[in-house]
């Protein structure tokens, strides 16, 4: 076999694909897996020009599908990562060359630590330089993902809706598992350690002029006031006093429905996104809004 010919074929395919991906709609959903989706969010954020007036939302899968692309004329960068927590999102915010004006931090799944494998995949300086200059190598542009996204778009299925949340195997697990988990409080030293680390990162961002807002998404009513939720809420208020930090409080959980106790169903997600967007808008517009 002629090695040169094989390399030539690869080069031609690479150039051809670079041309194809330029023609694709920007909002084409190309995520193939939860992990792949997280990488797309991360790479989109790292390689986009983040403006000082932009807004970033960091959190877990509870925030992943929020239907917020723009609030008060400001671009919203969604860094809600499935299966991960706020620390991965905060690392991304800190690692990007420019900071957004405001970061909204989800409170619900704060105990999940930073994912070392994700950090290794996302924060590799050499690969980031290459991917920045060669979009063809980004996760968003993987041929299988693009073809899948294109076929889905052709079929008319609304990929951006959380309909598929219902189908995620993890979400089919019984609500009872979460109720058991929430029934006991969190060890105070664990919570202190986690919130201490969060405070350290928050203060670093604040020192760079980033405004911080905490928010809590609604969950199943049986979890809202469960010992674990109460302990986390109390821990936040002690670490980040409400007079000093801005909060968007959890709306009445009974007004929302979840698929598994945690993730909002399709209608509830739309409703909460609308409500949260209004709250964010108010906060962003308040002239007295200061850290």
């Amino acid at each position: 076999m002629n090695i040169f010919r094989a390399l030539l074929v690869a080069a031609v395919l690479l150039i051809g694909w670079s041309v194809v991906i330029r023609q694709l709609p920007e909002d084409l959903e190309t995520a193939q897996t939860l992990w792949g989706g997280n990488l797309i969010y991360a790479q989109d954020y790292l390689y986009e020009d983040v403006l000082p007036e932009d807004v970033a939302i960091v959190g877990s899968s509870l925030s992943e599908n929020l239907l917020l692309r723009e609030v008060a004329g400001r671009r919203v960068h969604r860094l809600g990562l499935a299966g991960q927590g706020v620390f991965d999102g905060l690392h991304l915010v800190a690692a990007a060359p420019r900071r957004p004006g405001t970061v909204f931090i989800e409170m619900n799944v704060v105990l999940t630590g930073e994912n070392a494998r994700f950090s290794a995949a996302v924060h590799d300086p050499a690969m980031n330089t290459i991917r920045y200059h060669l979009p063809v190598l980004r996760q968003r542009n993987q041929p299988v993902g693009v073809i899948k996204g294109w076929l889905t778009a052709q079929s008319g299925k609304d990929e951006t809706s959380p309909g598929d949340l219902q189908d995620r195997p993890i979400n089919n697990m019984s609500l009872k598992i979460k109720q058991r988990d929430y029934a006991s409080s969190v060890a105070s030293d664990t919570l202190l350690m986690v919130l201490g680390e969060l405070r350290r990162r928050v203060e670093t961002l604040r020192a760079e002029g980033v405004r911080i807002v905490f928010f809590e998404t609604p969950v199943d009513p049986s979890l809202c006031r469960a010992p674990k939720a109460l302990a986390i809420r109390k821990g936040f208020e002690e670490t980040f006093p409400p007079g000093e930090y801005a909060y968007i409080r959890q709306p009445p959980c009974a007004d929302y429905q979840t698929t598994d106790g945690h993730h909002l169903g399709k209608r509830s997600l739309a409703r909460y996104s609308g409500w949260l967007g209004e709250q964010m808008e108010e906060l962003l517009k308040e002239s007295e809004f200061n850290q």
Partner: protein, 465 residues
């Protein structure tokens, strides 16, 4: 160090450049030993002590065997050598299993046994140690040049044979009589670039595009998640895992073989299109060939093979397969997996001896073998035996149709492996069209997908063994 990491790429490039500048065999071997130690110690430097210990033990035993002509003494030394290798393997690999089995309640002994870590690659390099000792004892099969006279030179040779980095962690298990005669000065001009290129591209493609992408789908086979999946998902994911484990391990082996070629060494093929096997004995001639032949040469034949009547043949077969199963992992489910394959082999032999052939079509036989092998992999994915049984139960009792999109993605990523096997069966590999057009197209497409569609990096499945 992973074959897919950038650190490894740097190590290979630097070693390769220096390797062909060096003047002689001894310097080249010394360089490869150093590179191999760096490769092995990269993540856990302390593990290097174990590798060094294994090398020293095998060197001492080999030197002892070579230094005497007394047959009894030679045999004693060989037995000690094999026992020491198996002892190291048993201590590090099976102590946690013994601890969990015989000391289920908290006790000092149980805790100690459970806390013993499993050093990466130990199953592979201890088997190579056994091969070295046995081959040296068998003398007629192995000529170690000037070994008896130069212990230091022998130490270098033994260290190189055991630690050579392409095959150190996950094989192929190289036999001493295959490898040692190749140790000589290598010239840059003698590199078989085309073969190395083909092995490396196919290996990296199977690992990074097929296995690493399938991994993120077969994740849902974990307990307890699989319980809520529909039958189509459970079947699709099991099929995907069967393809993934092949792509992962065959990919690693191909990379290892390709790398060895770059340094002038020929390692044996480890996989030869196993999923087209029409029988279980054929499957084991095509799957993990280096282990199958090792077990055959160093266990099945010494046990008596098929030379002592039907009963002993079946018994030897079962012993070999059960131990082969346990070699894969320190859990009883691996012994069950070995027994499962042993039974399949025994029944196949029984049917053949009795002229009983219910499946006349070769394709039906292939599908049967693939199906049985695939169900067996469940014990690799779910080493807890009860979970594997529950998975099979759910394949019957759950709702029939689930997320077809997920199944479609699994089939998409599995398709290159299917094509790989079919191409082997049906393409005219000697033809001009194949060489001039199809082959460059296939390798070019694989490189393109390697660059654009690799999955998230994951460790190789066989590292755990």
């Amino acid at each position: 160090m992973l074959f897919t990491s950038s650190a490894f790429l740097v190590l290979v490039v630097v070693t390769f450049v220096i390797y062909y500048v060096l003047p002689g065999k001894r310097a080249q071997v010394a360089l490869l030993i150093v590179a191999s130690f760096i490769f092995y110690a990269w993540s856990f430097p302390v593990l290097l002590l174990l590798l060094l210990g294994s090398i020293l033990i095998n060197w001492a035993v080999t030197y002892g065997i070579l230094s005497t002509t007394d047959p009894r003494r030679r045999k004693q030394l060989a037995v000690v050598g094999v026992a020491l290798n198996l002892g190291i393997l048993a201590f590090f690999k099976y102590s946690p299993l013994l601890g969990a089995t015989f000391f289920p309640d908290a006790s000092a002994v149980g805790d100690f046994l459970l806390a013993i870590p499993l050093p990466i690659g130990i199953s592979f390099f201890t088997f190579q140690g056994i091969s070295l000792v046995v081959d040296t004892y068998r003398e007629e099969e192995l000529k170690l040049p000037g070994a008896g006279a130069r212990p230091v030179g022998l130490l270098g040779t033994v260290a190189f044979y055991i630690a050579f980095f392409p095959q150190l962690i996950a094989g192929p298990i190289v036999k001493a009589h295959d490898f040692l005669p190749q140790v000589q000065k290598k010239m840059f001009g003698e590199i078989d670039w085309t073969t190395a290129f083909r092995f490396l591209v196919t290996g990296y493609f199977l690992k990074m595009v097929v296995a690493d992408n399938l991994k993120d789908f077969t994740y849902w086979m974990s307990y307890p998640y699989f319980q809520s999946l529909a039958i189509t998902d459970l079947a699709g994911l099991l099929f995907g895992y069967s393809i993934q484990i092949f792509a992962d391990f065959a990919g690693y082996s191909l990379i290892a073989i390709g790398l060895a070629r770059l340094f002038g060494y020929v390692l044996m093929d480890n996989f030869y299109f196993p999923y087209i096997s029409a029988g279980f004995s054929e499957f084991w001639r095509r799957w993990h060939i280096s282990l199958s032949t090792f077990l055959k040469e160093y266990l099945y034949i010494p046990l008596g093979g098929n030379q002592h009547g039907a009963f002993r043949t079946y018994l030897n077969l079962m012993i070999t397969m059960v131990l082969g199963g346990l070699w894969h992992g320190a859990a009883w489910s691996y012994a069950v997996w070995g027994t499962y394959h042993g039974l399949a082999l025994a029944l196949e032999r029984l049917a053949r001896d009795g002229n009983f052939r219910p499946l006349t079509s070769v394709w039906l036989r292939r599908l049967w073998v693939f199906g049985v092998v695939t169900v067996g992999w469940l014990l690799f994915r779910l080493p807890e035996f009860s979970h594997a049984l529950l998975y099979l139960q759910k394949m019957v009792t759950n709702k029939p149709v689930g997320n077809l999109e997920r199944v479609g993605m699994v089939l998409t990523y599995a398709s290159p492996v299917v094509v790989y096997h079919l191409a082997h069966l049906y393409l005219d590999r000697e033809g001009k069209v194949f060489h001039n057009y199809l082959q460059p197209l296939a390798y070019g497409t694989m490189i393109f997908l390697l660059l654009t569609n690799a999955g998230s990096s994951g460790t190789f499945i066989y590292f755990q063994f």
